[in-house]
């Protein structure tokens, strides 16, 4: 009979590393080793989608060397911004296990409002840009109301919205059909012609890297002060320098062509703000909680209704913003604005990027990764000279393959029990 515990407790230093069953890194070299082990285990966050993206890029590059040319990459970024912005909104509703099928219609209606008020009625641009966003907010509020007061599932209410809002779009464009936006108007220049001056772009990258390092160092220090484990200081510096060099190189390459598009930066800005809101604010915490277990969130005293309301509103507002960006890019609002693949592309982007349809799992960044996959496929196929039928087949196939990479690794993660 053995009563003495055979296990000796190791000396522990931090609050969160005292459990002997836990393997954890304690220094920079150790961190590297753990990262290696994590990657081998498949526990690598959004890396797999990035790998899918790299594979897509490599294949298209061998098929047509223009694919990775800076000029094409600039186009790719411009093409991604509008639908990508819409996809960020989709991420928000998906996090709550809801859906928004009317993003396409809202984006089209927003473009129509912009064109009618700005071009036909000659209203000032800021009004013509604000009005569509207000329309989006109103639409989102209606969905939230229908859901919260009447329990109408968002699939149905937004399906109704899809149809009804398309009706409004046709109605206000009705007599004239499509309307051109002047090429020298702010919105068109923003979407087509505004690029950072090279110097500005290099400086911006430095600022980003400095902010990253500063932030990481401060919070590591704070963690240590509070007796918690933290990333090693050399590790932070190495990552900061890698970030700096990588981004500077990317920016330099883009500057070989037109440079860094302001609209793409705007898109990145939206992602940054939403990512912060999701991860660092109470509102974001509530979003994840509701997506994970709405009853538990309610019992924790979260005002569930308000969170739904904000998410639906933000989704529609971002859809409207995306519609304005698309209108600027096209320099027109047309009868078919928003009716094409916008819906499916935006939702697919969020899902491909790793946001779950069942709520509680996802990130703002997934919109970026997903839309890049979709637009990279489209752009790569545009560079090959294919029949539509073949183009459809390849798009479908590649889309699935890009996700297979992700899923396979997630599967291996599940086998290791960390899914």
């Amino acid at each position: 009979m053995s009563l003495k515990s055979p296990i000796a407790s190791p000396a522990t230093q931090t609050l969160d590393r005292h459990d002997e069953r836990l393997q954890a890194a304690t220094g920079f070299i150790d961190e590297l080793r753990m990262t290696g082990r994590r990657i081998r285990r498949g526990d690598i966050g959004s890396l797999p989608v990035i790998i899918g993206l790299v594979i897509i890029a490599a294949v298209f590059q061998t098929l047509n060397p223009l694919f990775l040319s800076s000029i094409n990459l600039v186009n790719l970024m411009l093409d991604s911004a509008a639908v990508g912005t819409i996809a960020v909104g989709v991420v928000l509703v998906l996090l709550l296990a809801q859906i928004d099928l009317s993003i396409g219609s809202v984006s089209g209606f927003a473009a129509a409002i912009l064109a009618v008020t700005f071009v036909q009625l000659g209203w000032p641009l800021w009004v013509a840009l604000t009005l569509p966003l207000a329309m989006g907010a109103a639409v989102g509020a209606i969905y939230a109301l229908l859901f919260l007061r009447f329990g109408v599932p968002s699939f149905v209410s937004t399906l109704g919205g899809l149809l009804a809002i398309l009706g409004f779009q046709l109605f206000i464009l009705g007599t004239n059909g499509s309307i051109n936006l002047p090429f020298d108007s702010f919105i068109v220049r923003f979407a087509q012609k505004m690029f950072l001056a090279p110097v500005t772009s290099y400086v911006l990258v430095v600022v980003v890297a400095v902010v990253y390092v500063g932030f990481a160092l401060t919070s590591a220090a704070k963690r240590r002060r509070n007796g918690l484990s933290a990333s090693s200081v050399p590790g932070i510096w190495v990552r900061g320098i890698l970030l700096l060099v990588g981004l500077e190189a990317a920016v330099w390459y883009l500057n070989q062509s037109r440079g860094v598009a302001v609209m793409f930066l705007f898109f990145l800005g939206v992602i940054g703000v939403v990512a912060w809101a999701l991860r660092r604010t109470r509102w974001g915490r509530a979003m994840f909680a509701i997506g994970g277990n709405v009853e538990a969130a309610r019992r924790a005293g979260i005002r569930v209704g308000r969170i739904y309301l904000t998410a639906f509103i933000l989704s529609s507002v971002l859809a409207a913003a995306g519609g304005l960006m698309a209108a600027g890019r096209l320099a027109a609002a047309t009868l078919s604005s928003g009716t094409g693949d916008v819906n499916l592309d935006a939702i697919a982007a969020a899902v491909i990027g790793g946001t779950s349809l069942f709520g509680g799992r996802g990130s703002a960044q997934s919109a970026l990764l997903g839309i890049l996959v979709i637009e990279a496929i489209a752009s790569g196929l545009n560079l090959l000279n294919l029949d539509s039928s073949i183009r459809f087949m390849i798009t479908g196939g590649v889309l699935v393959l890009a996700v297979v990479v992700d899923s396979l690794s997630r599967r291996s993660r599940a086998a290791h029990g960390t899914a």
Binding site: D16, T281, R299, A300, G301, I302
Partner: protein
């Protein structure tokens, strides 16, 4: 039914008082005309058979369900508790039997859900993580990391997290619905210590448990529900184990007494402890 208030409290107004609570789910009447009082500085044990309606009563108190009939008084004032938020604002903290955790959030996030520290736009994660370790240590929890989703915790670890949640606010009544069901012996002891500490700080505690040893060990009063109705209320020190079981099962001749009789010849080892 005798007055079962502890003598010291007999003249005092109850902190929380339920009268005539009824609740039906479809064709099933879960609660019929139930009364309950809780005083400050008192541990009330709510016991009853499975399906007796204990959790339903708790959920009504916690604002998670609405009662079909009946009234609630808080410090003598009639109140309506129509949402968990309102219950929280009154000062009622609840540990639900089903734990009500968000599986996709990690331990820290669950502990402070709805009560995050730091500003609304920049939560103080470091502070919350540090305090989490403190809360968990109080309950002698064995959790390897507080940064993994609670979905991957063991049953007892999850229950510990749920209990620790109730310590985050500043409640005046704490309701614990079978808090020790999944806990190990050490953790159970800590929770019982905790319950006593809460009473000593003047809080009212409602403790639901099927473990009569624990109930008798810590409670001041015992309220019995049977098939959704009040079926007795006792001062703990006045009542025997057999009496409680009889009130719970509705008969003096029940599975428990039968089993005890059948085992009366077996070794006394099992009798040695009752904590």
């Amino acid at each position: 039914m005798i007055d079962t208030k502890p003598p010291a409290l007999a003249d005092q107004r109850p902190l929380l008082s339920l009268r005539g609570i009824s609740k039906a789910f479809g064709a099933v009447s879960a609660l019929t005309d139930v009364d309950l009082d809780v005083h400050a500085g008192e541990i009330v044990a709510l016991v009853g058979d499975n399906g007796a309606g204990k959790s339903t009563l708790v959920k009504i108190l916690a604002g998670a369900h609405a009662a079909d009939a009946g009234s609630i008084q808080w410090n003598g004032e009639p109140v309506t508790i129509s949402s968990p938020l309102e219950a929280q604002q009154l000062g009622i903290a609840t540990v639900y039997q089903d734990l009500a955790l968000c599986d996709n959030l990690d331990v820290v996030q669950n502990l402070f859900l709805g009560r995050e520290t730091g500003s609304a736009f920049a939560m103080d994660e470091v502070d919350m993580e540090k305090r989490s370790w403190g809360l968990l240590a109080q309950l002698s929890a064995k959790i390897p990391s507080v940064r993994i989703p609670v979905a991957s915790l063991s049953g007892g670890q999850r229950q510990t997290v749920a209990i620790a949640r109730s310590l985050v606010g500043e409640p005046s009544v704490v309701i614990l619905d079978e808090p020790t069901a999944a806990l190990g012996v050490a953790q159970t002891a800590e929770v019982l210590n905790l319950v006593e500490r809460l009473r000593d700080h003047g809080l009212g505690v409602i403790l639901i448990s099927h473990n009569m040893a624990n109930v008798q060990n810590v409670s001041d009063r015992i309220v019995v529900l049977r098939l959704g109705r009040n079926n007795g209320a006792f001062r703990t020190r006045d009542v025997s184990y057999e009496d409680i079981v009889t009130a719970i099962t509705g008969a003096a001749d029940n599975s428990v007494t039968k089993r005890a009789a059948a085992h009366s010849t077996t070794t006394g080892a099992a009798k040695e402890q009752s904590r």
